[in-house]
Amino acid sequence: MTEPLLRVRDLKTYFVTEQGSGTARAVDGVSFEVQPGETLGIVGESGCGKTVTSLSILRLIPEPPGHIRPGSFIEFEGRNLLTLEPRDLRAIRGNQIAMIFQEPMTSLNPVFTVGDQIAEAAIVHQRLSHRAARTRAIEMLRLVGIPDPEERVDHYPHQMSGGMRQRVMIAMALVCHPKLLIADEPTTALDVTIQAQILELLDRLQAELGMAVILITHDLGVVAGSADRVVVMYAGQVVEQAPTAALFARPLHPYTEGLLASVPRLDAPPAREHGRLHGIPGQVPAATAWPEGCRFHPRCPYAWDRCRAEAPPLLDAGGGAEPGTHTVRCWLLTDPRRRTPHP
């Protein structure tokens, strides 16, 4: 394996709540790596810590109330982002690592033209003149497939549709040809048809520009289509990590299993539950009070005493997979006979 582009180790991002109800451990010991050029999918329900993880990488967590605990480690091309001076960090943001936000409606500044906003990163990082930056903005608009870029460059965000704004966001993020793009739910706010277009666009741009992508989503369909590897997060932790094909073929964590079972399918009508859609019972617990033991045990159909008492570490999946490529945080791996059909 080559040297990873990004290495996150034991990332802990906590938020101190004001009412004294304790500390929200939004991200609690997350580790993963991103190889150059690959797409890593991060999946999980709302409240699992996906967005906080991505904001932590660029150190965009509002402090206070948030803080990244000492002992956390985020290494990008051999440099620890957590100890960088603000100046050096700014040189990385938008230049080496760029980010696309979830809401294209609110992530663009309403008082500037889209051209100005796309050009901004180029002006900040590459000290382009305004004329050159404008030319670059037009190029970027063309690259992300916006018709009439020469005209659109002078439009304001409110003159564009959601899909076009998301394209503008992508153009903004890619203007400096970053090595890593973090896309936080890039398609959640869009129509399904537009979603497909945006994902295709990301795929194409990734191939053209050779960057790595962290794709954060709660939609397994999105991951299946785009990601090389998947990290499944639950309650601020990584619960399963595997190449995409392996994960879909052999989900080992009960949470992953539940997520996959919850995807509505057209080809195989759900046999269980009399034709109703499957769901994982319960909700993600509050980040101020994760359950003892395995954090998934209150919702897990297989849970037994050990799960309630002891927190499982990440265990190797075995089963022919190369060690370290497929890891699961579940005691079931030590006792596979307990994996009985759903009760």
């Binding site: 965009l60 943001r93 938008g94 992530s107 901004e120 990163a121 903004m172």
Partner: protein, 299 residues
Amino acid sequence: MGGAAVLALAVVAALRRRVRATAPGRRFFRHPTAGPGVFVLTFFVTIAFAAPVVAPYPPYYQIDIEHPNHPPSAQFLLGTDPLSRDVWSRVVYGARVSLGIGAVAMLVAASVGTAVGAVAGYFRRWVDTTLMRLVDVGLAMPRIFVLLMAVALWEHIALWVLVLLIGLTGWFGTSRLVRAEVLSLREREFVAAARALGAGAGRVIFRHVLPNAAAPIIVSAALGIGHMMLLEAGLSFLGMGVPSPTPSWGNMIADGWHKMAVAWWSATFPGLAISLVVMALNAVGDALRDALDPRREAV
């Protein structure tokens, strides 16, 4: 005067024509008072700049000291005052002083207020607390007394010091306004997006946050100029502002008011000028607020 009026009319017409193509321009002129407001402001600004051309007499020239209080006539457009000076000429030169003081003082106030408000709102925590308590103290002090005290302490205060004082006692409201705007704007996603692009605090504040707060700042500045002018007029009226031979609209009222019964014109016209300009500023400020908010797109 005719020239200035024609020019002002032409400016309004040209502005109307020029901006009618844009949505903000249409929103601006949708205000029924916006056109007259621009006309009044252009008129007074023009006569202020062109004072030597527009004024028939020098502002200090006592035309006929034996027969003061000449009523308005063809020779003396707005009459002459109790010291037999041409009121029109003094209104013209007074426009320089009054408008100038208002504009410069407001510039000082708006700059300081915006800077303080932006810093407090963006950095929050102790910075915010410290600055806003300072603002509370500033707002708790009666402004006119602070100014009177300052003027009383320094005898023969220089005009620029007076302007600075008026400006430096007038930024508290603006800073609160700006802080409130910045507090809400800094949480917006596009600010996070700008930071993710690698923009530093200065760039985020000046390029992303403040332009979004421009509308309230401009409106408060436009209304504020009127306030500054009224303050200057008040001080001058009390004899504490612009020293007497220099014409300002305030001290012209002071010179004329005790002869109201026999020569109503010498105090009325400068008063009228103040009222007109302040109303015009309010009208234009209002229209600007509607025009400058791109989120309110015309249907």
